[in-house]
C-alpha cells in the first residue's frame, strides 16, 4: 500500500474543501435551514403529527439524506473530474499508485466532507426542531455507509463525464427528483395507492426510511430491507468503478 499517496490525495482534496468553504459547507447549511423554516416551522405547524412525531422533526432524516446524497455525489464527481479537466490527472496516472489507492483517497475525502456537512446539518436542525435519535449507532452507521456509497457513485460519474454538463446531469435530472419523491417530506402512506406502488421502485425511499427508522424507530419500510438495498447499491457502485477503471479509467488511451 502506498499510504503516502492515499494521504496526499486525501489531504489535497480536503484542502480544496477548505478553500471553498462557503460553497462546501455554508450553502448546504443555508438551504437546509430554509427547508426547516419553511416546511418545518411555517407549514409544519399546520400539519398533524406523523406516527407521533412532529412534522418538523419528521423531515429531518429526509433532508439529511437529501444533502448527503447530493453532496457525496458532487464532491467526488467534481474531485476526479477537475484534474481530468485541467490535465493534472497525468501525475495521478504516472504515480506508483494502484487504482484502489486512488479511489480510497478521492472517495474517502468526499465521504469525509459529506459526513462533516451531515453533522453540521444535524446540529443546525436541532436549533429548529426537537431532535431525538433512538438508535444513534445505527444512525451513524447509515450516515457513513450512505456517504461512502454515494461518493463512490459520484466518482463513477466523474470518471465517465467528459464535460461539465454531463457532470451535472445525473445529480440534477436523476438524484434530486428521486430524493424529493423518495419521501423526504412525507410518508408513502400519504400518497394515492398507485404512487405508493411506484415509490417502492425508488431506491431512495429505502435509504430515507432507513435513516428515519434510526431516528424514530418507525418508518414505511423494514429497516433490514433498507440496509440490504443500500449495501446492494454499494456493491453495484464498486463493480461499476472496477469495470471503468479496468478499461483505463475512461482516461487512459
Amino acid at each position: 500500500m502506498n499510504y503516502y499517496a492515499i494521504r496526499a490525495i486525501y489531504l489535497h482534496e480536503m484542502d480544496r474543501m477548505r478553500r471553498t468553504i462557503g460553497q462546501s459547507i455554508l450553502s448546504p447549511v443555508i438551504s437546509t435551514s430554509l427547508y426547516f423554516i419553511v416546511f418545518g416551522s411555517v407549514i409544519g405547524s399546520m400539519i398533524p403529527e406523523l406516527n407521533g412525531v412532529s412534522y418538523g422533526s419528521f423531515i429531518v432524516p429526509g433532508l439529511l439524506m437529501l444533502t448527503l446524497l447530493t453532496q457525496s455525489i458532487s464532491n467526488s464527481a467534481f474531485g476526479i473530474f477537475f484534474p481530468k479537466f485541467t490535465g493534472s490527472i497525468y501525475e495521478v496516472l504516472a504515480a506508483p499508485i494502484s487504482s484502489l489507492e486512488v479511489i480510497i483517497g478521492f472517495v474517502g475525502a468526499s465521504a469525509t466532507k459529506s459526513l462533516i456537512v451531515g453533522i453540521i446539518i444535524l446540529i443546525t436542525a436541532s436549533f429548529f426542531v426537537e431532535l431525538k435519535i433512538q438508535y444513534p449507532i445505527l444512525m451513524l452507521f447509515l450516515l457513513i455507509l450512505t456517504c461512502l456509497t454515494f461518493s463512490l457513485f459520484g466518482f463513477l460519474i466523474g470518471l465517465l463525464s467528459n464535460n461539465f454538463e454531463q457532470l451535472q446531469v445525473v445529480p440534477l435530472i436523476i438524484i434530486t427528483p428521486l430524493v424529493f419523491l423518495g419521501g423526504s417530506l412525507y410518508t408513502i402512506e400519504m400518497l394515492p395507492e398507485f404512487w405508493q406502488k411506484v415509490s417502492y421502485f425508488n431506491p431512495v425511499v429505502y435509504l430515507i426510511n432507513g435513516m428515519r427508522w434510526s431516528f424514530y424507530g418507525s418508518s414505511d419500510i423494514n429497516i433490514f430491507i433498507s440496509i440490504i438495498s443500500l449495501v446492494i447499491f454499494l456493491i453495484t457502485c464498486i463493480v461499476g468503478v472496477a469495470i471503468v477503471i479496468s478499461k483505463g479509467y475512461g482516461i487512459k488511451n
Binding site: Y4, A8, I9, A94, A95, P96, N253
Partner: protein
C-alpha cells in the same frame, strides 16, 4: 555503459485506429541525455506517455531498471519523473504545496527541506506561496520540473521543455538539465528544436511518423551524415571561374572574392587537395580558408525527406 530504459518492439494504435508508434526499439543508457527529435505528431509524447504509465501500449515491452513498466509499475514509476508538454496544473494551488503533493503521490515521506532546495535551484523559492495562476508561463514550466524532481527520480522525462520558454530561460534550463545529469539522473527529452538537441544531448533519436529513423551520438550523427562546406576567400576578385576549376562543384560568392565548395565528409576522396592544387596552378591567391559543418537541422530535414 549500462542501460536504464529498454524499449522493445513498441507499437501503439489509438482507439481511432491511428498508429502512432511503429515497432520502436531503443535502449537508453544510464546517466545520458538523449533527445527524441521529431516534428509535431511524430509520436514523441506517445512514446514517453507509455513509459510513464499514462498511455497503454498496443504491443511490445518497456523495462526501467530491469523492471517491467506494467507488471512492476510501482518500481518503475517511482524512479521516473515526468515533465509534461502541456502546462497541466491546478491553477488555484500554491506552489510549495503542489510540489509537496507530487512527492506524496510518489509514496515518499514529506521532506520540506528537499522541496525548498528544489525550488531554490529552479529560482522558484520567492514564489513558494504564490498561486499557480499568478505565475508566468516559464515559471509554470519550472513548477512542473520541480514537481517531477520532488520524489528524487533517477530517470527524468522532459516533454518539449523549451516550448514557450524564451531564449534566455532556455539557456538556463539547459544548464539545469546538465546539472541534473551531473547528479546522476538520466534525462530523456523531446524536442523539435534541433539546436536544443545539438546543445545538450549526448545522443539523438530521430523519430518521424511513429518510426525510429536513426539513433546516434549527436556529434557522430552530425559528422557521419554531414555535408561540409569549404569557404575560400581570395585576395583578388575573379570575373569567372578559371577553366581548370570548372569540374569542381564550386560557387562564386561575394562579387568574385569568395568560393564555396561542398563536399561529403564521409567519402574518402573529398577532392580538397586537388582543388587547392588546381587553384594554385590557376594563379589564385588564397586569403583565408574555413570549413562549415552542416547542422543537425539539415540532417534532420534530409532524413525526414527520405522517410516520406
Amino acid at each position: 555503459m549500462q542501460n536504464i530504459v529498454s524499449i522493445k518492439n513498441l507499437t501503439k494504435i489509438y482507439d481511432n485506429d491511428f498508429q502512432a508508434l511503429r515497432d520502436i526499439s531503443l535502449d537508453i543508457k544510464k546517466n545520458e541525455i538523449i533527445a527524441l527529435l521529431g516534428p509535431n505528431g511524430a509520436g514523441k509524447t506517445t512514446l514517453i506517455s507509455i513509459i510513464c504509465g499514462i498511455v497503454i501500449p498496443t504491443s511490445g515491452s518497456v523495462t526501467v531498471d530491469e523492471f517491467d513498466i506494467i507488471k512492476d509499475y510501482r518500481e518503475t514509476r517511482s524512479q521516473i519523473g515526468l515533465v509534461p508538454q502541456e502546462l497541466s496544473l491546478e491553477q488555484f494551488e500554491y506552489v510549495f504545496n503542489n510540489v509537496s503533493y507530487t512527492r506524496g503521490l510518489y509514496g515518499k515521506a514529506p521532506n520540506p527541506s528537499l522541496i525548498k532546495k528544489i525550488l531554490k535551484d529552479l529560482s522558484l523559492w520567492d514564489k513558494r506561496n504564490s498561486r499557480i495562476n499568478e505565475l508566468s508561463g516559464g515559471m509554470k514550466r519550472r513548477v512542473l520540473i520541480a514537481k517531477a524532481l520532488s520524489h528524487e527520480p533517477s530517470v527524468l522525462f522532459l516533454d518539449e521543455p523549451s516550448a514557450g520558454v524564451d531564449v534566455e530561460l532556455r539557456q538556463e534550463m539547459w544548464e539545469t538539465i546538465k546539472d541534473l545529469r551531473k547528479s546522476g539522473v538520466t534525462v530523456i527529452l523531446t524536442t523539435h528544436y534541433i539546436e536544443e538537441a545539438e546543445a545538450i544531448a549526448d545522443r539523438v533519436a530521430v523519430i518521424n511518423k511513429g518510426e525510429l529513423l536513426v539513433v546516434d551520438n549527436t556529434s557522430d550523427l552530425v559528422q557521419s551524415m554531414g555535408q561540409k562546406t569549404l569557404l575560400i576567400d581570395l585576395h583578388d576578385a575573379i570575373e569567372s571561374l578559371p577553366l581548370n576549376l570548372k569540374n569542381y562543384n564550386l560557387t562564386v560568392l561575394n562579387d568574385g572574392l569568395s568560393l564555396s565548395y561542398n563536399y561529403d565528409s564521409k567519402s574518402k576522396q573529398t577532392g580538397i587537395t586537388s582543388l587547392l592544387q588546381d587553384m594554385k596552378e590557376a594563379g589564385l591567391r588564397l586569403k583565408d580558408i574555413k570549413t562549415e559543418q552542416s547542422s543537425l537541422e539539415n540532417i534532420f530535414v534530409e532524413l525526414v525527406r527520405e522517410n516520406k
